[in-house]
């Protein structure tokens, strides 16, 4: 069982520039969301959350039915569906398809699901170039980094960092103005779009009754990826399903507002199959890759499977006091913040990354802002007990268990408890902060025990 990466966490905490960047960016996203879901702007906000939760619950509980319906409708529109167990199967499929179509260049729009399976790296090994086209993701690809945030991937970088990356990797003159940096990226990527053989997108929603994928974005790169090349592949987790196109009214109203405060993002694409009949443009081939990668493991637990309701808005990250201090790269997987803390141990295994559910103050801010009402704190607690249980089975955590057994014994014996209390009050100021206590005290002031305990005060009051 690995612990928290305390060394890199310390580096993050000690970097004032980075701290300011995380604090400002998440703070701004919090403000934008608060305005967008306020009673004045969206009076029915709570009803929408309830409805979204209901729809997701229903869909996840009937996932087999809706997956079949989705597949049938994709086929009816001339597309194909490929079910993949993991990243390797996705890579095998894409490589086979590329070979068959003599494809060399892939343009890709932002997709957390593809990050999850190291899509680009897998293809690179086979001399297939996959280019990220979302501006933030493109910068990160050039810098060889992973996303820092679900919706704001390059949140941790300054314009000067970007200037260095562009100079080093693109050979352009140093340019520090974001508007001009954007123009540089636009020019490079425009060429890629026009030359690409395959376009890959993610999916924010899969619509069962339509056989459609819905992709939301602000830049236009997902539209270009799905419309310019002759082949479009959408890669999506199986949990992205919703039953009906009409349910989008609820989900789109929540997603943009929760993520960036936008009532609708700039582009919402509703795509089903390759171009039809007389349509002038669009791809000739359409593939929907449905990824499991650990998701079906969650379906068996009636409580924990609500983790699959997530629509990846990132609101829980922005509102999390832990994320706002340690940032995105100290989480072991691509999903960071509270949602990362609950899905990482479940998708992988409870013994790997067992520290994650404990990295929370259980303040509840994440649950309050979650647009689909995932009970994140409750799941964190459940996972904590599972981690502890797993530790016990591994024979670890003996000291902690002994301490709690002693605590339980003391609590069950009032006379011992009173004595222990008095001793504690006398001895506590003399205890030097060593061991785990030292760690705890390094960030806090140790409380001083009261001169008189509650029991003593109560007894004195009664005797008056």
């Amino acid at each position: 069982m690995t612990g928290a990466p305390s060394e890199t966490i310390k580096q993050t905490l000690d970097d004032p520039r980075l701290q300011l960047a995380i604090y400002t960016a998440s703070g701004r996203l919090m403000d934008h969301r608060a305005t967008a879901v306020s009673a004045g702007a969206l009076p029915e906000y709570q009803d929408l959350r309830t409805q979204a939760n209901l729809i997701k619950k229903h869909t996840i509980e009937n996932l087999d039915y809706y997956l079949e319906q989705l597949e049938a409708n994709v086929l009816a529109h001339g597309g194909q569906v490929i079910f993949c167990k993991d990243g390797e199967e996705v890579a095998d499929f894409v490589l086979g398809l590329a070979k068959k179509n003599d494809a060399r260049l892939i343009v890709k729009s932002k997709s957390m699901t593809s990050e999850e399976i190291h899509f680009n790296e897998r293809l690179e090994h086979h001399h297939l170039e996959a280019v990220e086209t979302d501006l933030g993701e493109y910068i990160l690809q050039l810098a060889h980094q992973r996303p820092y945030h679900i919706v704001a991937p390059a949140l941790h970088m300054t314009r000067y960092d970007v200037a260095d990356v562009f100079t080093k990797r693109l050979g352009v003159e140093k340019e520090v103005v974001p508007e001009n940096q954007t123009k540089i990226a636009r020019a490079v990527l425009r060429e890629k779009f026009l030359q690409a053989d395959i376009g890959v997108t993610g999916a924010n929603f899969l619509i069962a009754d339509s056989g459609a994928v819905v992709v939301v974005e602000n830049e236009g790169n997902a539209r270009l990826s799905s419309s310019t090349p002759k082949i479009h592949i959408a890669v999506a987790g199986i949990e992205k399903l919703i039953p009906r196109a009409q349910d989008l009214a609820v989900f789109l109203d929540l997603l943009g507002r929760s993520a960036t405060g936008q009532p609708l993002t700039v582009y919402t694409s509703f795509l089903s199959g390759p171009r039809r009949g007389e349509e002038v443009d669009g791809p000739d081939q359409f593939y929907l890759v449905l990824l499991d990668n650990g998701r079906t493991k969650l379906l068996t637990d009636p409580e924990k499977r609500q983790s699959l309701y997530c629509i990846r808005c990132g609101a829980c990250l922005n509102h999390c006091p832990v994320y706002r201090k340690i940032g995105g790269h100290n989480y072991p997987w691509v999903y960071s913040g509270p949602i990362g803390a609950i899905i990482t141990p479940q998708f992988h295994s409870i013994t790997e990354d067992g520290w994650l559910p404990f990295a929370s103050s259980l303040c509840g801010a994440c649950a309050e802002v979650c647009p689909v009402k995932i009970e994140i704190p409750k799941l964190l607690l459940k996972l904590r007990s599972e981690v502890t249980e797993a530790k016990r089975r591994q024979g670890a955590g003996g000291l902690e268990r002994l301490a709690f057994q002693m605590f339980a014994w003391v609590m069950a014996h009032p006379k011992i408890y009173l004595l222990a209390g008095r001793m504690g009050a006398l001895l506590a100021p003399l205890v030097p902060p060593v061991g785990p206590l030292k760690k705890w005290a390094s960030q806090r002031t140790l409380p001083r025990p009261a001169k008189q305990s509650f029991h003593q005060l109560w007894a004195a009051r009664k005797s008056k």
Partner: protein, 192 residues
Amino acid sequence: MPAPLSAPLLRGPRFNRDLYVQTFVQRFEKLGGKAFVVPDAAAAIPQLAALLDGKRVVASNAPFLKACGITGLTQVESGFTDRDALRDACAAADIGITSADYALAETGTLVMLSSRQEARLISLLPPVHVAIVPRSRILANLDELLSVLSKPAEQSSSMVLITGPSRTADIEQILVRGVHGPGEIYAVIVEN
């Protein structure tokens, strides 16, 4: 068969139909677009003359653009049916002109369904997008769109909602327009 799911939550318009044009214009411009309202089809070209002057323009095959006289202008290329030819023209054009299947007042959104009349790339590749839309096409909101069009996939392989110019805030959260899609968008609403 799963247990039945409650009916979709579709909300009605929050305001009177007389206010749709006004609301659309207001929201569209708040996003950074520029909107004009003209009395009839003949008034569209004079409104756009300055913008189109000396520019390379690609127009879609929408009959409404023909009715407005757009396709007759010398600098306008139109009538594409070949994908590669259309793509090359769009990649070289300064301005793309389309109509729109619908517009949504509450969010200032243009709704485009891909078809023989409307290609995907005209509203996407050129740095400027102009949409000329009959007033009758304006709906209240996304909910009304999904009531009118409960299964968009039955009509087209692609429906896109365009809400403002292409934008990013990926570098230091500073807003930049025109990343991959058009950085400038215009809407001309034709009253009659």
